[in-house]
Homo-oligomer: 237 residues x 2
DNA sequence: GAGTGGTCTAGACCACGGA
DNA sequence: CCGTGGTCTAGACCACTCT
């Protein structure tokens, strides 16, 4: 038994995706939907707000809710995309190589990012991601040992996130992301297939848990030709 | 006279920013806030949801709302940032050079992006953005003539957005953004200071109006060393 | 003026966390 | 168990658009 507003949301999403409701047309009014779904108006509004946040409709006061064209393949709004999902989306067999796995004292930069004291320890994981036979992404993870007491090469070769969520019962909640372009380091050149590329796209992530504690710093270093980031920005009124 | 939930939101934001409420502590419960602000719980919840969406708090069921550390300079959640704002934020005197301004028939790519027919016309605007004496950004805009009948070099040198919103009364509502890294074109090399740079960061924007009509396609081409994108991604549960 | 979405209320029940 | 946040209701008034 799921939420009422979520089922309404999903119903309408399906209608939009299937073309049952056409782009540029108006959704039934909130009052009509209230009757149709036999619920209260606030519940309908919750569903509509979700649709709006996810780019399916645009609400206009005094007019109605306009359906937006979602025909071109949209990913969902930018979020945490794991490497595994990414590979599946691209229809390629990804491969992960674990280059480094160690428990260490964080250096100054990591300590600052993760707001650690000198005594804390972190897991350092360096992994190469291979897609279609080419080494394209270098992932450097630093995980606070306080939350992840143990880590093995097998886990890292598979998916750290699955291990965290399924075995350790940690819930990743959100991340602050920063994207910059840098010159490749020697490490980048050694571990990635960078012939002829002079820049590298670095995505720095600070990952927070459920309870708002900061537990991981990640740098995902991408070869520029294989990098793509999609975002959906709604004007903040 | 502004909204009640917005004033509550702003009040709490100020308290967090000023350090009156400390990171990692709990906000008063929704019931307590309801009493304190003399309002209903749903109104408090609206304010708290805004706080959560903007990264100030993390709500945890059965526990409360945890205040997140926002000390490191955060921009607001990624949005539409105009060049003028960007320059002001960086404390530099920006300069805009209009390289090209013409009314044209869109080519195939633009026609597809803006979903135009062959008969529609678009304004093409090419502008160079100079910060601190260096030409760093190349902006290429294509605006549907249907919405913008007239455009002058003066407007382009100042701010197109201000003209649209203040004079034409158009309301920009949201944008779909895509970030990729490309090799510089001859045009990039001619119009930007690119000595020694081998890549260019391209931000492609589809800009929609108030009523969900698609009216502008923009490419903002940045020198990689001056590019930075910050995002705040909340897990979609 | 009729109809739309935006805000606000006062109350109810539920799911979850912690003591 | 109590207190927390999550959902839902039925009703009210307002601001806006369209005709």
């Amino acid at each position: 038994m799921t939420n009422k507003y979520l089922t309404i949301y999903n119903t309408i999403v399906e209608q939009i995706k299937s073309g049952e409701i056409l782009p540029q047309t108006l959704l039934p009014s909130e009052n009509e939907l209230t009757e149709h779904f036999q619920t209260s108006r606030e519940t309908i509004r919750k569903a509509l707000n979700l649709l709006s946040q996810n780019g399916y409709i645009q609400k206009v006061r005094g007019k109605g809710s306009i359906v937006i064209d979602v025909s071109k393949f949209d990913f969902p709004v930018s979020g945490l995309v794991s490497f595994k999902e990414l590979g599946q989306k691209m229809g390629r067999k990804p491969r992960t190589i674990v280059n480094e796995l160690e428990l260490m004292k964080p250096d100054g930069y990591i300590r600052q990012q993760l707001q650690l004291s000198g005594k804390d320890q972190v897991w350092k994981v360096v992994r190469t991601r291979e897609i279609g036979g080419e080494k394209i992404i270098l992932d450097k993870d630093f995980l606070n040992k306080k939350f992840v007491p143990e880590l093995t090469e097998e886990i890292c070769a598979d998916s750290i996130y699955e291990y965290l969520e399924e075995d350790l019962n940690l819930t990743i909640s959100f991340a602050k992301k920063e994207i910059v372009v840098e010159e490749p380091t020697d490490e980048d050149r050694a571990l990635l297939d960078l012939d002829g590329f002079h820049n590298i796209v670095v995505i720095k992530n600070l990952v927070y848990l459920d309870d708002a504690s900061l537990f991981q710093y990640t740098e995902s270093r991408h070869r520029p030709d294989k990098f793509r980031f999609v975002d959906f920005a709604r004007r903040t009124n």
